[in-house]
C-alpha cells in the first residue's frame, strides 16, 4: 500500500540565475522597496520571539513597519532559543586557519549530506559575518581572549575554529540581544507585543495570508489579528517525540495549521538526534537535557570493550576501553557530525557495550582534559554544563565520566520556502527552525543560531518589503467570511476537545505517540517499522478524539487544553513524518534507512532517485485521504555530490 500521491515538481523561482556569489546582491537589487514614509501604513504579524522572530520583529519595526508580535510564554525573552548552549558559526576567519565564506558554504552543504539548496546556504554563509558584528554592537558578551578580541572554538563536522560562544549560554546571550532590540521597539510603540497568546490558525483570504486566530492563554479569549503579511517564527517540532531537548511547550501548531491551509511541508522526516544528552532516568521523565556538543572538543567518548562490563569506569583499564569514534573516524575523531556520532553510540549499545541503566549510555570522559589543561581551565570552559549535569544526575563529572545518550534535538524539516523565505501561501513567510531551508538532511552544530539570526535580521526584512511593495492588498476586516470561518473552526476544535471527557490524559497520548515515533521513525528506520507506525498512528489519533480527558473550560487559563490542542497537531504531523521517511528509500544525514547502508554501516544516499527536497501538500485526514508529494530537484553546481567521508 502506498500512503501518498505524487504531484507536479516544485521549484524556487526567486534566486536569480547569476553566479552564486552574486545572487543575494542581485536579489536585493531587484527587490522593490517600500517608501519609508509609507511603511507605517503596513502591518506585519510575527509569530514567535526566538532568535528568528525576535530579530525579525525588531528589524521590521526599526524600518518603520507596524509589527504585531506573539509568543506563548509570559515574556518574549523566554523563547526556546534561550536554551542553546554551544555557539554560533561565522566565517570571520579571525584565526587565519583557512576559513572563508566558501568553506562555510561547503561544510554546510556537505554536512547536510547534499540535501539543501545551494543558493540559500551560500547566502547564509555570506550573512554570517554581519551577525557577529550586529550582536557585538548590541552588547552580547561573547567569550574573549586576554587581548580583548573574540575567542572561537571548533564544532562537529568542521576542521576550522569558527564558532563564537558565550560560555555554555550562547543562545541566551544572543536572544537577550534580540529581546532587548525588540523591547526598544515595544517601548517606542512600533511593536504591539502579545505574550501568553497562542496562534491557533492562519487566516488566508483570496489565496494570501492575511492574519491569524490566537487565544489569550490567561482569559481564554479567542481573537483575530489582521495584517498585510504573516511571518511564522515558531521553532521546530521535535516534541512530536514527546521526549526531546526542546522546551516543554515547543509545538508545531502554527506551522501545521498553515500546512493545512496550503503551505507545503518539506522533508518532515529529517530530524536531528543529538549524540550528547543525559540519558533518561524513569517513566516520569518530562524532557531530556542536552549536554552541548562543544564538550566533544575536550571530552573523549568511550565504552567498555567487553559487552556487559558492569565495573565502575575508573576500574576499567585503558586497554579495555574502546574510544570508538577515534578508532573508526581518525580524521575527525570525537568531532564527527552529529548524525554519525549518534548512530555510532546506538551501534555500541546495540552490541551490548552501553553503560548505565538499561545499557543505554556511553561515557564522555574529561579525565584527559583535566590532566592536560587543569581543572580550572575545564571549569572555565564548561563549568555551567558540568553543574547542570551534576544537578540532574547527582554525579560529579570532574570525578566520574558523564554518561550520555542520543536524543531528539532539532528538526531540519519544516515549511517549504523559496529563496525569499516565502511559503507556498503568498504573504506567509517562515523563518528560523520552522522552515526547511538551509541544513539539508543534517544540521551542523552552531548553525541554527546563525540561520535564525540571518533570517530575522538580514534576509527576511528586504524580502518582506518586496512582497508588500509589489502586492496590491484589499482592505479586510473581521467580518470577512474567511475570517469568521477560521475563527469558528478554531473555537470548534477547542469546544470539541473539552467535551470529550474521556478516560486518558493528554500526556498519556503524547507519550505513546513519542514511543512509536522514537521506535519506528527515530535513529534507524525500516520499511516494516514505518508501515507498522502508519497502521497504528491513525488509530491513536482516533482514540485521542474519542477518549482524551481535558479538564476545565475554555474561558480560563487551562494548560491541559493548551497541551491537548498541540498534541492533536503532533498526531497528524507524526503521520506525515512516517510517510516521508517511508517514501525516502535512501539514507541521508539524520534519516537512516536500514535498507540503505554501506557495508560498514554508514548512510548510503541514492542521488539518482532522491536528490530532491520533498514538499508535501496537505491531503486531508479522512480515510483514504493522502498527502501529495511535490519534488524540488536539487542541483549541486558548486559542491559536487560525493559520499561523505569523515574517516
Amino acid at each position: 500500500m502506498t500512503f501518498y500521491k505524487i504531484g507536479d515538481d516544485i521549484a524556487d523561482t526567486t534566486a536569480p540565475d547569476v553566479p552564486i556569489e552574486q545572487r543575494w546582491d542581485k536579489r536585493r537589487f531587484d527587490a522593490k522597496l517600500v517608501n519609508p514614509a509609507n511603511r507605517r501604513r503596513h502591518s506585519v504579524i510575527v509569530v514567535g520571539t526566538g532568535l528568528a522572530g525576535g530579530a525579525a520583529g525588531a528589524t521590521l519595526a526599526e524600518q518603520g513597519y507596524r509589527v504585531i508580535q506573539f509568543c506563548y510564554q509570559d515574556s518574549p525573552r523566554r523563547a526556546h532559543s534561550i536554551a542553546a548552549q554551544g555557539g554560533i558559526n561565522a566565517a570571520k576567519n579571525y584565526r587565519n586557519d583557512g576559513d572563508s565564506v566558501y568553506r562555510l558554504f561547503y561544510d554546510t552543504v556537505k554536512g547536510g549530506d547534499f540535501r539543501a539548496r545551494e543558493s540559500n546556504v551560500y547566502r547564509l554563509a555570506q550573512t554570517s559575518t554581519q551577525i557577529i558584528d550586529q550582536c557585538v554592537a548590541q552588547g552580547v558578551p561573547f567569550a574573549r581572549e586576554y587581548g580583548g578580541l573574540l575567542d572561537t572554538r571548533s564544532f562537529g563536522g568542521v576542521q576550522v575554529a569558527r564558532t563564537f560562544y558565550a560560555r555554555g549560554q550562547t543562545g541566551q546571550q544572543l536572544l537577550i540581544g534580540a529581546y532587548q532590540a525588540l523591547s526598544r521597539q515595544i517601548d517606542a510603540g512600533n511593536v504591539e507585543m502579545h505574550a501568553r497568546t497562542e496562534m491557533l490558525d492562519l487566516i488566508v483570504i483570496d489565496g494570501r495570508a492575511r492574519g491569524i486566530v490566537a487565544r489569550d492563554l490567561i482569559t481564554g479569549q479567542v481573537s483575530t489579528y489582521l495584517a498585510d503579511a504573516v511571518v511564522l517564527a515558531t521553532g521546530g517540532y521535535g516534541n512530536v517525540f514527546y521526549l526531546s531537548t526542546n522546551a516543554k511547550n515547543s509545538n508545531a501548531s502554527a506551522i501545521w495549521r498553515a500546512h493545512r491551509r496550503g503551505a507545503y511541508f518539506a522533508n518532515p522526516c529529517y530530524t536531528q538526534i543529538h549524540p550528547t544528552c543525559i540519558p533518561r532516568s524513569g517513566d516520569y521523565q518530562g524532557k531530556l537535557t542536552l549536554m552541548s556538543e562543544s564538550l566533544r572538543n575536550d571530552g573523549r567518548i568511550w565504552v567498555p570493550k567487553n559487552p556487559g562490563d558492569t565495573r565502575s569506569p575508573d576500574q576499567i583499564p585503558e586497554a579495555e576501553r574502546d574510544y570508538y569514534l577515534e578508532r573508526i573516524y581518525p580524521g575527525f575523531g570525537n568531532l564527527v557530525p552529529r548524525d554519525i556520532a549518534s548512530r555510532a553510540a546506538k551501534n555500541q549499545c546495540d552490541l551490548g557495550r552501553g553503560v548505565g541503566p538499561g545499557g543505554l549510555g556511553v561515557y564522555l570522559d574529561f579525565a584527559d582534559a583535566i590532566r592536560r589543561m587543569g581543572e580550572d581551565k575545564v571549569r572555565e570552559k564548561y563549568g555551567n554544563l558540568f553543574e547542570m549535569y551534576d544537578r540532574i544526575t547527582g554525579e560529579d563529572p570532574y570525578k566520574v565520566p558523564m554518561r550520555i545518550y542520543p536524543a531528539v534535538h532539532y528538526t531540519m524539516g519544516g515549511l517549504w520556502v523559496d529563496y525569499d523565505l516565502q511559503s507556498t501561501i503568498p504573504g506567509c513567510f517562515v523563518v528560523g527552525e520552522a522552515n526547511f531551508s538551509d541544513h539539508g538532511a543534517n544540521r551542523l552544530g552552531a548553525s541554527a543560531l546563525m540561520q535564525g539570526l540571518a533570517d530575522g535580521y538580514f534576509v527576511l526584512p528586504p524580502m518582506l518589503g518586496n512582497y508588500i511593495a509589489s502586492t496590491k492588498l484589499e482592505k479586510v476586516d473581521a467580518s470577512h467570511p474567511a475570517v469568521v470561518d477560521t475563527v469558528n473552526e478554531a473555537t470548534g476544535r477547542l469546544t470539541r476537545l473539552l467535551s470529550i471527557d474521556g478516560e486518558r490524559t493528554v500526556d498519556s497520548f503524547h507519550r505513546e505517540l513519542g514511543e512509536i515515533m522514537w521506535e519506528e521513525c527515530g535513529m534507524a528506520r525500516s520499511e516494516d517499522g514505518l508501515r507498522k507506525a502508519l497502521g497504528r498512528l491513525p488509530e491513536l489519533r482516533e482514540e485521542f478524539w474519542r477518549s482524551v480527558k481535558v479538564p476545565g473550560t475554555g474561558d480560563q487559563l487551562n494548560q491541559s487544553l493548551e497541551r491537548a490542542n498541540r498534541v492533536s497537531d503532533f498526531l497528524e504531523l507524526g503521520e506525515l513524518m512516517c510517510v516521508d521517511a517511508l517514501h525516502r528509500e535512501e539514507s541521508c544525514g539524520g534519516h537512516f534507512r536500514v535498507e540503505s547502508q554501506t557495508p560498514d554501516g554508514e548512510a548510503r544516499r541514492d542521488d539518482d532517485r532522491f536528490a530532491y527536497a520533498g514538499a508535501w501538500e496537505f491531503g486531508g485526514t479522512g480515510t483514504g485521504d493522502q498527502p501529495i508529494l511535490h519534488k524540488e530537484p536539487l542541483n549541486f553546481d558548486y559542491v559536487h555530490l560525493a559520499q561523505r567521508n569523515y574517516a
Binding site: A55, Q73, D74, S75, P76, R77, H80, I82, A83, Q130, I132, D133, Q134, V136, A137, Q138, G139, P141, R144, E145, Y146, G148, L149, L150, A166, Q169, Q172, Q173, I176, Q180, A181, S183, R184, I186, D187, A195, A247, S281, G282, Y284, G286, K287, T289, E387, M388, R391, I392, G394, Y457, P461, E503, T505, D507, K549, P551, G552, Q556, L557, Q559, S560
Partner: protein, 248 residues
C-alpha cells in the same frame, strides 16, 4: 518516597486562595520538582480535579519561566538552582513541603502558582538595551573589550529574569534584576553612550511598576539561581549617582 505537598490553590486573581494538601506516595529521588508536579497533575486530572497551574518551559534552568517558593525559599533549598533543576533527592521520605507562588506587590497571582511578571519586561523596555539598529554595526573587532570587562558583563547578563530576587526580598524590590542589566550594559564600551540615561530610566521604571525600595538585606542574592552578586547593586548605585550628578 512518600511526600506531602501543601500547594497554594487560587482559581483566579480575584478569588481568595488557600493551601491544599496532596500526598504523592510514588515520588522518585531522581525526579525534578516539576516532574513531581507533573505526576501529581496526571493523577488530579484522572480524578476529575483541577490540575495545578505553574509556569515552566525549558526545564534546564535557563528560560526563567519556572519558579515557586518551596518551604519559604524562592526556588527551594539548593543554592543557585531553579525550581526545574531542583531534584527530589534534596528531600527526605515523609517530608511535608509547602509550595507557593512568588509573592510581591508587583507580581499578581494569575492562577495557583503562576504570577504576572510583566513588570520586569517593562523595566527592560525603559532602556535595558544598546541602540544598535540592524545593519548599523561596525566590524566586531573594531573595539576590543578587555577580558575582565567582558567577563563582568557576561556574569551579569546571565540573569534569567525569573523574579526570585523580588520574591525573596522583604520589600519586593527588583533591584538585583535591574542592577544586573545596568552592570551588563554599562560596563561595556558599546553601552557607554547611553550609560546615564539607561540607569536613570531603569530606576524610574522600577519605581513606576510598584517594586519596593532596596534596603540591602541581601536576600535576593541568596535566592538568585544565577549568582548575581550584591556588587551589581553597588554598581547600579554608583552609576545612578554619577548620572544624577551629571543631569543637574
Amino acid at each position: 518516597m512518600k511526600l506531602t505537598l501543601r500547594i497554594w490553590r487560587q482559581a483566579s486573581p480575584d478569588e481568595p486562595g488557600r493551601m491544599v494538601a496532596y500526598e504523592v506516595p510514588d515520588a522518585n529521588p531522581d525526579m525534578s520538582f516539576l516532574e513531581l508536579l507533573d505526576v501529581l497533575n496526571e493523577r488530579l486530572t484522572l480524578e476529575g480535579d483541577d490540575p495545578v497551574s505553574f509556569d515552566h518551559d525549558c526545564r534546564e534552568g535557563i528560560c526563567g519561566a519556572c519558579g515557586v517558593v518551596i518551604n519559604g525559599q524562592a526556588h527551594g533549598p539548593r543554592e543557585r538552582t531553579t525550581t526545574c533543576q531542583l531534584h527530589i533527592r534534596e528531600f527526605n521520605d515523609g517530608d511535608v513541603i509547602d509550595v507557593e507562588p512568588w509573592r510581591s506587590v508587583a507580581f499578581g497571582v494569575i492562577k495557583d502558582l503562576m504570577v504576572d511578571r510583566s513588570g520586569l519586561d517593562r523595566i527592560i523596555q525603559a532602556g535595558g538595551y544598546i541602540s544598535a539598529p540592524t545593519g548599523s554595526a561596525p566590524e566586531a573587532h573594531s573595539t576590543p573589550v578587555p577580558k575582565p570587562i567582558a567577563d563582568t558583563a557576561f556574569d551579569n547578563a546571565t540573569c534569567i529574569g525569573c523574579g526570585a530576587c523580588v520574591a525573596a526580598c522583604p520589600n519586593g524590590s527588583s533591584m538585583l534584576f535591574t542592577s544586573a542589566k545596568v552592570a551588563h550594559l554599562n560596563s561595556l564600551p558599546q553601552g557607554a553612550p547611553e550609560r546615564a540615561e539607561r540607569v536613570l530610566n531603569l530606576v524610574e521604571a522600577m519605581d513606576a511598576e510598584g517594586f519596593g525600595g532596596c534596603t540591602n538585606t541581601g536576600e535576593c542574592t541568596v535566592a538568585c539561581p544565577k549568582g548575581i552578586p550584591m556588587d551589581s547593586i553597588a554598581t547600579l548605585n554608583r552609576e545612578y549617582l554619577r548620572a544624577s550628578l551629571g543631569r543637574k
